[in-house]
Structures are given as C-alpha cells and as structure tokens.
C-alpha cells in the first residue's frame, strides 16, 4: 500500500468553492433551482399518491359491494347448508378464477336464510361445513362454529361473517364484493341474520 501512496488521489483535485460573503447570483440560482425542482416534485407527488391510494379511496366512496344473485331458492333446501359461488362484482379480465368466491347458504326454515362468508373470522381460511355434527370447522387454526354461525370454539373472537340477503322473484340475492376481514366486520352483518 505504501507503494501506492505517491499516486494522486481524487480528493486533491477539488475545485475550491467561491468564498464570497452573502448571496451571490450563482448561489441564488442554485437555490432557485432546488426550489423549482421541489415544486415539480410536489406537483408530481399528488397524482402518484392518488394512484397508489386508489384501491382504498374507491372502497370508501362508492363502495365495492353490490347485490348479486346466488341463483334460485330451489338450490337451497330448508334445513340445509349448501356451498354457493358467485362472481365478484368488481372484476377485471385478468382475475381468472380468483374472482369466483364461495359462500355457505343456510336455509333456516324455508323462509329465512343465513349467508356466511367462506372466510374464518380468525384469519380468513376457508371453513368447511360438517352436516353430521352441524359444525363449521376451519383447517388452519382449528376454529369451529355452530350451524347459525356463532362461535363454538378455537381462536376466533366472533361468529362467521354474514352477507346481507334478500329474496326476489324466487332468487336469493346477497350484498357482496369485498373480502370480509375482522377489521371490516362493521360493514358485514354481525352475528344475527339481516333481511333487507
């Protein structure tokens, strides 16, 4: 290394900065240049941030949810709980099969229904219905729910999420469009069935 010590170093070639006191024309132009770029950056930030926040803003303004049909009532015999699927209302051609969403439809007594989200209220795994023991069981962390969706055991803090439903022209409609999660529980019907 000592052999290399004699070589010129880039640091030695520094251009001395002008040592004039106060605001020179060049110093002011430099600062104006910074300011100008700051303005341009701020102007560009607004559309970028808006673009990034688009998914959240849309959810707040118009909402993602809408009424959609699960098909005729005959598919859901009284006293039984059946799996139904629907195409998510907010969908793009790129979504493929991921936009097909399942849900559990319980025909309570031929007149009233309960439509449960497939997602466990704990962490969103798909719950399975066991008609023999009248329980929903979750394969992830062992949450279990009774047939009316209320919590039976395991880590979930609450019952299954429910979609609002209505019956029109012999068809079952639910209000859906957004993946139900624990934090969004307020938007989805709570423990009780809700008829609109």
């Amino acid at each position: 290394m000592s052999a290399l010590a004699g070589l010129p170093r880039p640091d030695d070639e520094k251009v001395p900065a002008p040592k004039e006191a106060g605001m020179t024309r060049r110093a002011m132009l430099f600062k104006l240049g910074l300011l100008f770029n700051g303005f341009v950056a701020a102007a560009l930030t607004a559309p970028i941030v808006r673009y990034l926040l688009a998914p959240a803003i849309r959810g707040k303004k118009t909402g993602y949810e809408s009424w959609l049909s699960l098909g005729s009532l005959e598919q859901f015999p009284p006293g039984q709980t059946r799996l139904a699927t629907f195409r998510n209302p907010v969908v793009s051609s790129l979504d493929g099969e991921t936009a097909d969403i399942p849900c559990w439809v319980r025909n309570v007594d031929g007149h009233s229904f309960q439509v449960f989200a497939i997602n466990c209220a704990h962490l969103g795994c798909p719950v399975r219905w066991f008609p023999q023991s009248n329980l929903f069981m979750c394969p992830c962390h062992g949450g279990a729910y009774y047939q009316d969706g209320s919590r039976a055991s395991g880590p979930p803090e609450r019952g299954l999420f429910q979609y609002s439903y209505k019956v029109e022209d012999g068809k079952l409609f639910i209000k859906a469009g957004e993946m139900p999660t624990p934090g969004r529980a307020a938007n989805t019907a709570g423990g009780k069935s809700r008829c609109v």
């Binding site: 926040l53 399942p102 394969p139 962390h141």
Partner: protein, 495 residues
Amino acid sequence: MRVIERLGTWFDERLKLGTVLRETAGHPVPRETASWFYVFGSAALTVFLLQIVTGILLALIYVPSAGEAWNSLQLLNHTVPLGWFIRALHGWGSNFMLAIVLIHMVQVFLFGAYKFPRELTWIIGVFLLLVTLGMAFTGQVLRFDQDAYWGLGIGASIASRVPVVGPALVNLLLGGPIIAAATLSRFFALHVFLVPGLLIAFVGIHVLLVLKLGINEWPMPGRIVRKATYVREYQELTHKRGMAFVPYGVWKDLFFSGFILLAIAACALYFGPFGPGGQPDPTIIQTAPRPDFFFLWIYAVLSFLPPAAETPILLIGPIIAIVVLLALPFVAGEGEKSWRRRPIAVLTILVLAVAMGTLTHLGEHTPWSPVMNAWSSLPMPAKALQGRTALERRGALVFQAKQCRNCHSIGDAGGKRGPSLDDVALRLTDDQLIRQVIQGGGNMPAYGKNLSPAETTALVAFLKTLHPARQAPARDASRRVAFQTGGEESTSTQP
C-alpha cells in the same frame, strides 16, 4: 500476457479503480478473523447473487397475472427444459439465504460485533433481515397456488386489525376488494423491483461499513470495548499483527460460498422445486393452507394466542421486536464482547432457538387443527369394540359419525385438538361426560342440539368403556351414598 497488461492499464487510466480495488482487497484484518466463523456474511451475499440470477431467469417465463401465473409455473416445471431446476434453485436459494442470514446474525450477536463503532452496521443488518423476510413472503405469494391465496387472506386479516386504518390497509394490500389480479401484480412489483432495490442498497451500505470500520476482531474474554480507546486498539490489531484480507482471509469465504452453492444445487436436484400446490381457485375449499418453513413458527403462534390478546400481540409484538433489535447497540454499545462472559446473550439465543424450533415443529404437525377426514377414514381400534354391548357399539358409531374423531384421538389416531379419549372414563364420571358432551366448554363445542337423547346415551355408554383394563372408571362418590341409602344407581342421560 503483455496484451492483457496493456488492456488493464488502458482501462485503469480511465476508470481509476485499480488503486481502490487493490487497497480494498489488501486491507489488513486482525489475524484471528480468518476463521470459519466469519464466512456467513459473504455466503449470504453469494446466495443473494444466485437469487438475482435465477430470479431474472424465472421472469423470462413467469406471468404475473392471477389467471395465468399458476399455468406459467406448470410450464416452467414440466415444459421448459430445466425450468424445474431454475425454480428449485430459486426456492432452495431462498431457504438457504434466510438460514444463513439468521446464522450470520447469531454469530455477530454472540461475537459482540454490534458494539462501538459498528452500531450502524448492525442496524443496517436488522433492515437486511426484515427485507430478506419480505423477499421470502412476497416470493411465496408469487408461487400463486392455494397456499399463496389463503396466505394472502391471513395477511389481509392481520392488516385489517390495525385500528382505524385497517380496512383501507386491506384494500391497499390487496389492490382492491378481494385477492385477485391486482394483488398478484403488486406483490410481483414488490418482489421484483421494490424489495430487491432496498436489499441491494442495504447490502451496499452494509459491506461498505464493514470495509470502512474493519471486520469485528475475534472477541477475547476480558478485552473490554471502550469508546475512548477502541479505535487505537483495533488499529494495533490490524496494522501491527494483522494480515491482508486477500489472500489470507478470503480463501475460507470462497470455499464456504462455493460449498453453499453446491449444497443448494444438490437440494434442487434431489428435492426439486417447491410446488406449486393446488390451483388458486377460492371455490376449492378442500385445502389446509400452510406457510413456508420460515413462517411456520408464526403460524403456530397464531393458533396458541388467546383470542383477546391476539390482536394487540400481533400488531405490537413485531414493533417491539424490531425496536429491541435496533436499540441493542445503544444499550450495550460498550463492554465485554466475548460470549464466554455474556451469559444472558447466550441464554437469549438458546431460548429463542428452542422456542422457534418448538413452534416450527408444531407448525409442521398442526396439533390444533381438526383432522378433517378422521371421522370418515380412520378405523376404530378392535379393542374398543370387542366384548361391547350393542348400545356401546352404537355409541362408537355416533362418535365417528358426529366427527368427534376429528378433534379427539382413540388408539393414537385422530385429531389432537382435544384431549385423547383413550382413558377418558378415568377422568370424567357419567354425569361429567354427559355435561361435557351436551354443553361443551373448555374449547369444545356444545353438542346438545346435534345429538338426540338416544345418541347421547349411546355415546356416553361408549365413552365409559374407554379406560385401561385394570383401572376402574371414575365414579361419583355421592352416587354410592345415594345407592346405599336405598336409591338405585341411575344411568340417566338427562343433563
């Protein structure tokens, strides 16, 4: 040779890099650091380079579209020549990289390398750990199968629990209302552009700091780090008794890195690529989603936390862990470096290793999950049925048909969610059995509405037979008193 030399001179006159490179390579390091303990950092860097190369190769074929990603992975696995091997290299490279980063972190922690003046090196290292974990998680999403789909659901469910902004955060994470095309696209952008960018930047600063401050010297018990004297002492170690990193230290790094690359290739050849699992079709609900190996311990934690404490622990726990890691060099920036004189440090590592190992083991076996097909697929052991009455055998039928077996094992087969019932009759009396079946409790659902009185009678009659041959079942003491004072022992099934 003269041509090469002249070419070299030509470039160096213009690039002016020769001096810097020669100084960097020849910088003196403390003699003892040419050790097999000091090879993990460079190995992590080597594996990262492998990940960059294989990642770019995969991007030649992979389609980051929710409708096509799974098909393009199948194409890579089965149609593109050696596509499976590149996928396997990338997948095993990811596992090796995380493992080496963790080992590297444990090593520098136990060797006190985070102390003055290398606090910032440690902090950047913590960022590197987080970014590497981020790469592993986002990479797992790009392997767009059932596990990835429902794993995103778990991520969204956790994000939604953040107070106030939770629901908006879910929409931002998923890029829309559900897990769909926008979700995969943004995880692709994270995994391929944003997080690797951060990783490269942090690696650059990390290596630069190691070069500027010098490698941590081998810790000797009793050699105390003091801010006033450390730099001078380190100078002495390197300049008086040190030696040039190239070639005295570097050969071990080279051998270890090469060995690790070989090991990754061997794993890739022998075990093949990871997945993809089932199609990411949410309507196929016959699935038990599980995260990749390095996240299994979190998966286990999530099933053991009590419901009320889960959200605060999930949201605050990681922040505390990161703050502790970042604060470490400021709390313990001076003092003893050798792990021989730092029992708490050694204990911390041991406790963490045992805890993580246990949780990972549990995550692999998921004893908390009901075995979804136990009721329909497991045979009842013969000894539980031999010599039993018709009622007791009917009870065994009820036991299987009502899916009790999904959570309770008999003869070591069945779910482990609830206690094994091989000797349940020793623990519970008739009345307690009836109460437990009908009302549930202690994390068991109540079956009162799902069992007819006849079924309950049969089930309890069967459960009463479940005890070791030479041990009498539990009996209610008050029953005997009632029996002696004239009443008949009742076997009523009424609660």
